[in-house]
Point group: C2
């Protein structure tokens, strides 16, 4: 991929305003969001136009509350450690600023002479930047805004993929590789609930565990395909009868053909039974509901279990994808370059894939309108039937996740004496 080297810019940058830069992190953390932060800091250093680099504590909330940190004098060793650390080092926020909130953000920029505004986040963050930038233009205040994309959901438009997704996908793949072997050793039906409210990208990454004939996940359910509970039980029964076990990947966002999330549909049903006393909220509910559904129809002796991967997917320490880390770093660095070299007042960034074999991509500026408040779901070329992903998707995903740990087996499922001779 394109490399961006840190260091003092040599060409003369005409027309760049003199002032401070501010950076914030927003939304759900990822394993590499701090790489973007560090890449940005390194990209801004050494430019005379940048007087100070301010970190907003807990996103724009820190900006409006004057809760800011100086980031320009942190030594490289500490920056390296922070870059390799999961979650948002500045703190994050779930605030989705309305017009008044954006006005307070703009006022804070003026108060601190902030002329460069960077926000690392999803499409809500890009929308905030768009509004603040419009305010600055209408008030004739020179402010350069760059959105740095981040989400494990991989659902931002225009990008081949989003920083944070490859590492979360790697976690899901390593989890499924192990859980498939666990399910193979103690056969039964196992359901794993994976994050992704509207798009199935992360759940689909489970497919990388299919590394031998008969390996799971045997079924993959995504929000892109309407979920039918009867079809689900039939699918599971069929796999269980064929393989004597069944590993299932289910997106937390699966919804019926009226786009009602299955968890909500189940909740309504159960609430009625319970005269309003029982709530199915909480993270284990969807998995438990699917297990109970299967228990009604699958033979009594079957082991049926569910795990909900939860927040581990976005914060687990120690399984980041190397490509993801490098790209997230480059996105931060590139954002600094864009702010300092383009005449545009507001911009976002996208990762464009140049080729898959060998994997190569570039990081390019895109219009903020192309990313703000939109969601990118998996296209039909990545789906296979109602419960699987395509080979095209596997080809797309593999280079992002990187080399996975080597595993070995003693026997094949169909002919168990292939690798170790059976006793005569």
């Amino acid at each position: 991929m394109t490399q961006f080297h840190a260091g003092k810019h040599t060409e003369q940058l005409s027309g760049c305003p003199l002032g401070n830069a501010a950076v914030g992190q927003s939304g759900g953390p990822t394993a590499v969001i701090n790489q973007s932060l560090v890449g940005l800091v390194k990209g801004l250093r050494g430019h005379d136009e940048i007087q100070g680099i301010f970190g907003m504590r807990f996103g724009v909330r820190g900006l409006v509350n004057d809760d800011l940190l100086r980031l320009d004098r942190i030594d490289d060793g500490r920056l390296s450690n922070i870059a390799a650390t999961p979650s948002a080092a500045l703190g994050s926020t779930r605030d989705k600023p309305d017009h008044n909130y954006c006005r307070r953000i703009f006022d804070a920029c003026k108060r601190h002479n902030i002329r460069y505004f960077f926000y690392i986040g999803g499409n809500d963050s890009s929308d905030t930047l768009r509004i603040v930038s419009e305010m600055a233009i209408s008030r004739n205040y020179e402010l350069r805004c760059v959105h740095i994309p981040k989400t494990i959901d991989n659902d931002l438009p225009q990008s081949d993929h989003t920083p944070g997704y490859p590492s979360a996908a790697r976690f899901v793949a390593q989890a499924f590789i192990g859980d498939d072997l666990d399910n193979r050793a103690l056969p039964g039906i196992k359901i794993n609930i994976v994050m992704g409210r509207h798009a199935g990208w992360l759940t689909a990454a489970s497919v990388l565990a299919r590394r031998y004939p008969g390996a799971g996940p045997h079924l993959i359910y995504l929000p892109e395909i309407p979920f039918d509970l009867n079809q689900f039980t039939q699918d599971v029964q069929a796999v269980y009868e064929e393989h004597g076990r069944c590993l299932v990947a289910v997106s937390e966002g699966i919804a019926n053909d009226h786009k009602v999330p299955i968890l909500k549909a189940a909740h309504h049903h159960l609430e009625k039974d319970a005269h309003g006393n029982i709530q199915l909220s909480g993270t284990g509910a969807l998995g438990d509901f699917l297990v109970e559904t299967l228990r009604q129809v699958i033979d009594k002796d079957a082991r049926i279990r569910a795990d909900t991967f939860g927040y581990l997917q976005r914060s687990f320490c120690g399984v980041a994808s190397e490509i993801d880390a490098a790209e997230a770093r480059s996105c931060g660095f590139r954002a600094a370059q864009i702010a300092l070299s383009s005449g545009k007042s507001v911009s976002s960034i996208a990762i464009k894939r140049i080729s898959t074999h060998p994997y190569e991509c570039e990081i390019v500026p895109i219009a903020i309108e192309d990313v703000a408040a939109q969601t990118r779901v998996m296209g039909p070329e990545f789906l296979q039937g109602t419960n699987d992903v395509s080979l095209t998707f596997i080809d797309y995903l593999k280079p992002l996740v990187g080399k996975l740990p080597v595993t070995g087996r003693l026997y094949d499922d169909d002919h168990h004496n292939t690798t170790a001779a059976a006793v005569q």
Copy 2:
């Protein structure tokens, strides 16, 4: 630790029976149970007394059903891959053999001229070996049985720790390091449910995430201490008021002072409300119940979430502890030595710690009666009050888990401008 080198035994082994060896894996898989399998195979190779090495598919079930694999001719490269693979490569079983089942096991040993019987498992496995060995002695059939310990629960007596535990503890530590930073970035109350029905060893490993002042887990609840729901809510409230957030580690096996598991107590309560229609079974139930309990008393705006780590703790691919892998391998190798050199008909193995600084241990034979059907819980020296572990426990655990990934922070919780200057 003591090293055991593979290779042909040079000393004359008098009185060892001539025949086949058989090995099985039992109970919940671990990240390193295949290391013990491979260590055993390597320890048995090159000994003339051993005619064939048979692997039982799915534990003793494979033995009684003549479902056996030849393990003596697998090349070293493949063995290395299998050793590094989580879960039980032979398949496992939950069968707990009664006297009749043990009789069928003994008959199978005679049928296949099995003279060396190795079973990698927890205390149920050791009990099976004990019974089968007694049958062999009473029938004058020479059979050498060695139990190779394995459990992520770390609850076998006599051992300093059990192969499988350090790797699961490492997973829990890495999960909590990331989740603590996630909770720090988006403050709220977060509960993580960790495996361990009767002993808190694995839940206690979460303490390794406390790497800076104010870090979580702030509260740790273990089965060794009676759990009081009112005290729990008071504890959480106090931490939440002090830190603005609260990360909690909860063992799945927490029980009230009548030794009734909290999940069961909650289940009874909810079942009554729901007129018998609702079951709180399934893995997410305890976490969801605790979240709902806190929601009744904590302010409405608080983010309260629960994750249940589930099977990922024992099968996740790629985070094994190096010490654990080496020790599990040595246990397998040592089991072969014990069977071939001691005159004993049945034995188990324990890891004894020689010193902590530097870490050193040895693997020694112990009497099977000392491990069979017993459970080792955490002693009072490892506990601190009603919701924490002691420094003694941390000292005990650290060398087992090994060096954890380096992380960095931008600011301290109490004085947030220590590492990065606050904006004046």
